[in-house]
Assembly symmetry: C2
Homo-oligomer: 417 residues x 2
């Protein structure tokens, strides 16, 4: 453990040095460096695919599931997607340097809040090796130094991707340690990373519940939390029936494994057509676990247990309940929700506004599918995750979420009376 | 300890209930409630002064210093100031509900980021009982529920102030538990408060180093850090000599006990008049602890030890050093600063801009006294403290710093392709 403390101190100090050096580098240079990194990824295709093949062999030996192997796998096409994503981040507007607000005081002092990078960002993630490139690109575009810690099953792939990106950004004149990868698979290294307060400014965990829980339990460094998405869709009494069916089926079934997928359906007891709504979900291949009122509507539904209301299925299963109005829907969401994305479907604007006002969710939607919970769909270009915490950044976190601000005060010799 | 866990769970749940109720209350009602609270403070003068007299007697018995007794003392005039401060917060514009940005997507979805309260704020503070009123007012104005934990030496005063404010806000129709006070002096209650993750959204410590250090060490709840202010003033080669003297003397001597007071003076080796600058500080009654080059300039200076560069004196003492230019000044600040407020004095705009760009401080000032580091002076109306952390809020934290945002997405039935 103390070895890893030394390792993280060394990496943290190098990252801080790189961060300081980045503050002298223009936005255009950072963009060029990312274009160079993308080019290096493409030129390194043989090495990256060979490294990934090693991970795949080891993964099969270790009995990884087909789903995990698929997430791990990189072929020429996927590498091209990874490189293109880096180029897309390079093309995003740089938030750094923007003046958030400006205030001239009666004494002539001019106060400006200017956007600056957060500093050193630690990203802890699991099997998908594309996160190595994505996270490095988002961090660097916004002027941060990043320390990456990927899953052990993707170590060779991550090393190869990291080496290519470092080659690209250093060729463009950026500091080598702007992007560092923790090169050990020992989990104790994560512990040291979580305690590197003063060296790492923020930890962003990307992964399953057990990873996020460990990070939140152990971290002394602030954490940008990305917890589960127990997303609700409330079908109001005055919902348009076609919209209700289209939204519910899309929110659940378009992709069941993403955090913005609907997990609980709340149907107003006065909504006139609950049967066709459930039928549409069932016909689409969704298991419906309902309360008694729901189960009366269709013999194919099964009974929901207490824990269903708190479960993120990430599967073609939905928990469904009848509620006595918008306030009962809100109370259910307050008790069981995860502050991610919650949806109201109604043509009644007053009901929609009540839901929007009172649902304490990072994202509240009216008449839209919760599957839109995605930085790209929000027009943010890319995202590093969806924050379910309340501090600093909430909902889709993109470049701006990786920045903070400083106050710049310009005077002409003012002293305080 | 487990008793305090139960206590904090109860208080936290009541606070969350109050927070939910506050989301249905208009800005005007919140302002009226604070005006009523101020009025209740004024009407409760006899009780508050009697309670404070008890604290003062106990404080003298316990041997509190004169400075601490002065901080603790409330007389009619000070109570009037406390009540007026609550009225001033009532009159501040409410940040809640403001639309931060708005984005209409090609598919017709409208994405808005809307400012909302943070939630439940825990404030842990030391002897000044006016913080009870200030913190409650700032928290409530921005729609939050607050849990206050003041110093044991001010317990009777805090209880009386809290009771008056609760009487005022409940009379105005606000929930009773919007403002709660931890009514025990046992330090274990603070430990339970720091671990109430999920119930308390953020902890704001206001007090000395040992309090803040304990909070940062123990907290499982996010902390808005208010650490020390080791503030630097760098006098550049091209500084105006009159401004340099006026700013340095004001930054150090106007009030030596505030976090924005200068603690270290960095003088460019090519600044032509270092002697008069030091003389002005010495003549004003400041002890100057210098490096060799500084000590050569005036026989009244004394020698600085290594720890002086890392010391927040909060006293009429300054550490002073000659530096070889703006980059050496920046390097010194990077090594020894506390990311609070750092100042450059120069008429050379290029030097000023280099300093502004590279000083990694919450507040960077050009040709002004660091004593302006104050929410009121920044035009924010009031402040709950100066954040030296990088996340969420930086520098003076006022109403906006006590808010977050939610994303509101308005659609017409859109589903994701």
């Amino acid at each position: 453990m103390s070895d890893y403390k030394d390792l993280m101190t060394d990496m943290g100090e190098r990252a801080r040095g790189a961060f300081a050096a980045l503050s002298g580098i223009t936005s255009a240079q950072k963009a060029e460096a990312l274009v160079a990194a993308a080019s290096a990824l493409r030129h390194s295709q043989p090495g990256i695919l060979a490294a990934n093949a090693q991970d795949m062999i080891k993964g099969r030996e270790n009995g990884l599931s087909d789903a995990m192997l698929d997430r791990l796998m990189i072929d020429a096409e996927r590498l091209d997607v990874i490189a293109s994503a880096v180029e897309q981040v390079a093309a995003l507007p740089d938030p750094v340097g923007a003046i958030i607000d400006r205030n001239e005081r009666p004494n002539g002092l001019i106060m400006e809040r200017v956007r600056v990078p957060l500093g050193v960002i630690g990203i802890i993630y699991e099997s998908r090796p594309n996160v190595t490139a994505d996270a490095a690109a988002l961090g660097l575009r916004s002027g941060n130094a990043v320390i990456l810690r990927g899953g052990s099953e993707a170590m060779e792939s991550n090393r190869a991707i990291h080496a290519a990106m470092v080659a690209g950004v250093t060729a463009a004149g950026l500091p080598e340690h702007a992007i560092q990868l923790v090169q050990t698979t020992d989990r104790a290294a994560v512990g040291a990373m979580l305690k590197a307060a003063g060296l790492i400014d923020i930890i962003i965990p990307r992964g399953g519940k057990s990873l996020v829980a460990r990070v939140q339990e152990e971290a002394r460094v602030p954490v940008l939390a990305h917890l589960d998405g127990i997303c609700h869709t409330y079908i109001g009494k005055a919902a348009d029936q076609d919209k209700a069916i289209a939204i519910a089926v899309n929110a659940k079934m378009r992709r069941t494994g993403i955090c913005g997928a609907m997990e609980t359906l709340l149907v107003d007891q006065d909504y006139p057509a609950p049967g066709p709504l459930l039928r549409a979900l069932l016909d689409a291949g969704c298991e419906v676990r309902g309360d008694d009122a729901i189960m009366e509507l269709d013999p194919r539904t099964v009974s929901a247990e207490a824990e269903d209301w708190d479960t993120e299925y990430l599967a073609p299963i939905v928990a469904a309940r009848m509620v006595g109005g918008v306030d009962e829907a809100l109370a259910h969401i307050a008790d069981h929700g995860s502050h991610h994305t919650d949806v109201v479907v109604t043509e009644d604007e007053a009901v929609a506004n009540r839901f929007i006002q009172h649902a304490d969710s990072a994202i509240v939607m009216w008449n839209a599918s919760s599957q839109f919970a995605d930085g790209g769909e929000f027009g943010l270009g890319a995202e590093i995750g969806i924050s379910t915490g309340r501090l600093h950044a909430r909902g889709p976190v993109a470049l701006e979420g990786l920045t903070t601000y400083k106050w710049v005060v310009r005077g002409t010799g003012q002293i305080r009376p």
